[in-house]
């Protein structure tokens, strides 16, 4: 049971990351790989504040979200001037810089040693110290994020995001400042990623830079693409599949000495097959 609850919590965290990245990649059509950076900013801010102060989980998480928003605003000002491959390359650069900061600002982050002993969250006197309680917290936050993303996607703001994806110059003809829309969605998405980071830090109780590498961004991107671009339920499905698939493969019965490698191989082959079969993802509305 504990194992299933653990998977449910991981699913919630990655679903939040997938939903928020879908706003940028799926709805706006900008191939961003910055998500691990904002995930890390949220995680580190929350962890440091929980360890070093007694302001509590909510306030620590809020500060992490605000910090992510400020950094996203500054980075987004630069990234929003790009599109296509240049946007992807620029976002990759930022992700690498963020990882270097987590790794090398040893006075603050303890570098590769990481931050152990992060207290479990306590909200309104309830301590979410067990997996059963934590899964409730994660699920509530996931539902809130899902509905926030749905509101954005179905609003006139979301409609403009889709038109930017379709034809950015054509939308400018009507007087829209695409920079404003690209920047706004980038900041909102970064804030949501920071929420996932806060949850992760408080759940695992230990973080180090290895969790926030560019590979993590690629993993979240895979969730979005596999589940379906510009479809929020697709992000939930993508997170469910990519979290559960490696776990299911544990029970396939590969010989013990090569089980790990076989699982990785099967997992990769299944992803390639899926992309060949449905390049727009399982329930996507658009393909890159």
């Amino acid at each position: 049971m504990e194992y299933l609850l653990h998977l449910a919590i991981l699913f919630s965290i990655y679903a939040i990351l997938g939903l928020s990245l879908n706003l940028i990649v799926g709805y706006t059509g900008l191939l961003s790989v910055t998500h691990a950076a904002f995930y890390g900013i949220g995680a580190y801010a929350t962890a440091l504040l929980l360890i070093k102060t007694d302001i509590g989980f909510l306030m620590s998480g809020l500060i992490g979200i605000i910090l992510a928003a400020i950094i996203a605003f500054l980075i987004g000002m630069v990234l929003s001037k790009f599109d296509g491959d240049y946007y992807a390359l620029g976002s990759m650069g930022f992700c690498i810089i963020a990882f270097s900061v987590f790794l090398n600002w040893q006075d603050l982050t303890r570098g590769p040693l990481g931050l152990p002993g992060i207290p479990k969250p306590e909200i309104f006197g309830i301590e979410f110290s067990t997996s059963a309680l934590f899964v409730i917290l994660a699920a509530v936050i996931l539902i809130a994020i899902y509905f926030a993303c749905r509101c954005i996607a179905n609003s006139s703001f979301g409609r403009v995001l889709k038109t930017i994806r379709e034809d950015e110059q054509a939308i400018q003809v009507f007087g829209y400042s695409t920079l404003y829309f690209k920047l706004t969605v980038f900041v909102i998405s970064a804030m949501m990623a920071a929420v996932a980071g806060s949850l992760f830090a408080a759940y695992i109780t230990y973080i180090d830079p290895s969790t926030f590498t560019i590979l993590e961004s690629v993993f979240v991107l895979a969730i979005v693409i596999l589940g379906g671009l510009a479809n929020l339920r697709g992000s939930l499905l993508g997170a469910l599949l990519l979290i559960m698939l490696p776990e299911i493969l544990r029970f396939v019965g590969f010989p013990g000495e090569i089980a790990g490698q076989m699982r990785e191989l099967t997992y990769g082959a299944m992803l390639i097959a899926l992309m060949l079969w449905r390049p727009q993802g399982l329930i996507g509305e658009y393909k890159l």
């Binding site: 889709k162 003809v173 007087g175 829209y176």
Partner: protein, 242 residues
Amino acid sequence: MNTDKEKLLQLKGVSVQYGGVHALDTVSVSLDEGEVVALMGPNGAGKSTILKAIFGLAPLHTGRVLWYERPFTPVPHEVVRNGIAFVPQGRRVFTTLSVEENLEIGGYGIRDEKELKKRIESVMDMFPALKQKRKTLSGTLSGGQQQMLAIARGLMIDPKVLLLDEPSLGLAPKVVKEVFKKIAEINKNRKTAIMIVEHNIQSLLSVAHRGYVLDKGRIVAEDEAEKLTSSGILERVFTGRL
């Protein structure tokens, strides 16, 4: 039409360069209120670049754009605020949005929801075919319907000036006739001044009051539409005998 009264829109001595190549070379054009002006010339003459320069989509190397004789910096949101709408080449409707949503996009800047709905109904009254398909995804419309939608979307801001780039591109002759009939209607009923770039010279001159003939980024002739037709300049420019 081209009198000494205050001009609505003017380009004065405008040059546009793309990587050192002159797309426009000190070009001056003007548009009066309620007028339809045609921009004609072979491929690469710079016709579409004039419309893009007005809209700030092509950077000016030299020259100025004037609105009611006053210079303004051509950036899209400023141009739209002045009441200039642009219907770009190739229609460029948003295929994943419905007809109604495309029109809502065109009404950017209309803050009042009731006014927005009123405008949508008003332009749909002009294009009954769109009214029947208001919830249909615009990607599933025919080429002619998409062109009508592109024009209707441009009319959402109730513009003083409508810039049309190749409205007949890729359309069947019967549909082209319909499109030009609508353009004439817009000019007559709404008093919208229109500047059109078009290859279909016959259709174009049937609605235009005045025209400019361009070749290699320069204006080689300017006159009333009828006089341009009878002067033979168009044949000379299009056959390269200028």
